[in-house]
């Protein structure tokens, strides 16, 4: 359906730090700043962690402890699908009477897509359905943990020294957050978009931990390396046994070369994120906490506030010949909206990509409000809008079709054009200042958007 709508043919310009052009369905509208926002000019925050297969919510502290992996679900090491637990009946001797055998259930993991089973790598069947499966231990874990502890202690020591120097005069207590060497503690540090996250982020120790001296041994360089086996170059390759790069790199601590060493790993958790406008710090998008729910607590998407332009029909476009293109304008709000289109002026800095000139009528267009009950209300009189038939092709509830005249200016390539759309917006948010007498509190503000259309190639 998305390819049918061809949403990326109509782009709206977002003014922010970077000028971003993107379809309206991917933009957000901050109604406090009265501006469009794209994903790049908002700050993303992690709301909650959940497992995509068992849909279990996990608190952030627990997620961090388990390295962002689910405790119950496994991924197939071969095709990365989710593994399911299957049971077989195995005859096994009764504990009381070894002569008789009874059918016991044995469980193994199997992938429904590539038919990998846990028996392929030699993992024995377990007698419990869940909780019996263990990930293999990394032989280097101890060394890495020791190194991390040592560096944590080093950071802590350096921080204390730095604080001591700064506090030489003042004896006031300075909050921890301001001086962290190996962390992204403050909001200020985090807000810088694109700032590289240090690998040792969040390693600072809490205050009050014992200052135990941890010593680490430096790594010893060996002169003699194990020689390659003699038939390394002549041995024929057993291709099904060799792992693909993708399979190998999904397990970076082992990176097995052979398929018989591919053990399953716990499934990665996914996050729900909330978006926040960088200028006014209001939330633009806040999902529900429950992983099974797809609704939002706060959902300030641009489609609900800004009229949407869609291309309805394009005639054959010829070089330097004026043709009429039919667009539709849809009104998302419930009150009447006044829209004016005007072409971009000469020397407009936003107008970078147009290869055609456009002539639009300067008349103000009226868009009826979106009325959800309109189709059931038979007694309602059709509103009389007195449309100019040269401009307005048709009108249907909250949508109108308009003609614009396009003249391609380039002989080759795609025909793109841009224009400005000015419309009024009534802010229905709670008024910040108290309503004075005689004032309705709902004065419309006028917004102007720069819209770019891509009409496709010229007719041959």
């Amino acid at each position: 359906m998305a390819s049918l709508l061809q949403a990326d043919r109509v782009l709206y310009l977002v003014s922010g730090e970077k000028k971003i052009r993107s379809p309206l369905s991917q933009l957000y509208y901050c109604r406090y700043c009265s501006e469009l926002r794209s994903l790049e000019c908002v700050s993303h925050e992690v709301d909650s962690h959940y497992c995509p297969s068992c849909l279990e919510n996990m608190p952030s502290a627990e997620a961090k402890l388990k390295k962002n992996r689910c405790a119950n679900c496994f991924d197939c090491p071969c095709c990365m699908h989710t593994l399911s637990t299957r049971a077989t009946n195995i005859p096994s001797p009764l504990p009381d009477d070894p002569a008789k055998t009874t059918m016991k259930k044995a469980y193994y993991l199997a992938c429904g897509f590539c038919r990998w089973t846990s028996r392929d790598v030699g993992m024995a069947d377990k007698s419990v359905a869940s909780g019996g499966w263990q990930e293999p231990e990394n032989p280097h874990t101890q060394r890495i943990n020791k190194l991390i502890e040592y560096y944590q202690q080093l950071a802590q020591r350096e921080k204390v020294e730095r604080d001591r120097k700064k506090l030489a005069r003042r004896r006031t207590y300075m909050p921890l957050a301001y001086s962290e060497k190996y962390g992204l503690g403050t909001r200020l540090q985090r807000q810088r978009s694109g700032a590289p996250i240090s690998g040792l982020a969040g390693l600072s120790l809490k205050e009050g931990e014992d200052q135990k001296e941890i010593k680490i041994e430096p790594v010893q360089a060996l002169e003699e390396v194990e020689p390659l086996p003699e038939d390394y170059y002549t041995r024929p390759i057993n291709l099904p046994e060799v792992t693909t790069l993708r399979q190998r790199l999904l397990q970076p601590d082992f990176q097995p070369i052979g398929a018989s060493q591919l053990y399953p790993r716990h499934k990665h958790l996914l996050i729900k994120r909330s978006l926040r406008c960088r200028k006014c710090e209001h939330n633009l998008s806040k999902p529900e906490f429950n992983p099974t729910s797809i609704k939002f607590k706060i959902q300030l998407v641009a489609l609900n506030y800004i009229p949407e332009v869609r291309i309805m029909s394009i005639p054959n476009l010829r070089y330097l010949k004026e043709s009429q293109v039919l667009l539709t304008l849809t009104n998302p709000v419930e009150n009447i909206t006044h829209v004016t289109l005007r072409p971009c002026e000469e020397g407009d800095q936003d107008d970078l990509n147009s290869t055609a000139t456009v002539a639009v009528s300067p008349k103000e267009l009226l868009l009826a409000g979106k009325d959800a009950a309109a189709e059931y209300d038979e007694l309602a009189e059709p509103q009389d809008f007195q449309d100019d038939p040269d401009v307005v092709a048709f009108r249907k509830s909250n949508k109108i079709g308009i003609f614009i005249k396009v003249t391609p200016q380039c002989e080759e390539g795609e025909v793109t054009l841009s224009f400005k759309m000015r419309h009024d917006f009534r802010n229905l948010a709670a008024p910040i200042r108290p309503i004075e007498e005689g004032e309705q509190g709902n004065e419309p503000i006028w917004l102007t958007h720069h819209v770019e259309l891509s009409l496709g190639p010229l007719a041959p």
């Binding site: 071969c78 095709c79 897509f113 590539c114 038919r115 990998w116 089973t117 028996r119 392929d120 099904p240 046994e241 398929a259």
Partner: protein
Amino acid sequence: MADLNAKQIQKSVKIAPGAVVCVESEIRGDVTIGPRTVVHPKARILAEAGPIVIGEGNLIEEQALLINCFPENIIPDKKDVEPKTMTIGINNVFEVGCISQAMKIGDNNVVESKAEVGRNVILTSGCIIGACCQVNTCEVIPENTVIYGSGCMRRVQTERPQPQTLQLDFLMKILPNYHHLKKTLKGNSTPAKKLK
């Protein structure tokens, strides 16, 4: 007379007792179906260029197409071309919507939904052709191979897929309740009709 007899033998369908073949399935040509095989309605078994012999314990699901067809570049000429027999072993599963033209299929194979197996492929035993995978090569697929994914990736599994005995038993009980079945052979009687 002999020619007419030969033609009649070519067109008959021999269904062994114990097999469950629904009337709505389309079976054309010289087809032999072994016992304990279940053929669902709307399955099609077409023996155009030669006979098809299906072993026992097979499961052929809806809209599956088993066809013994002429190779594309050879014009069917009855004198020159010898009819090649398509043999299918035991305990195979042909899932919904698959197309199989392979001339020789062994035991315990699974051709998953909407998979296509070409004419020059030979399936040994324990092979699994994944859903929507098209295997058009000219080769013998080694035992216990799994072909899966959009890129038709392959891997070898350690054990063959289990025969679907539970499913077969269930179907042999339930299908006759809802569908008419094609008549099976009784004992050793010949299926050829007598000419009058």
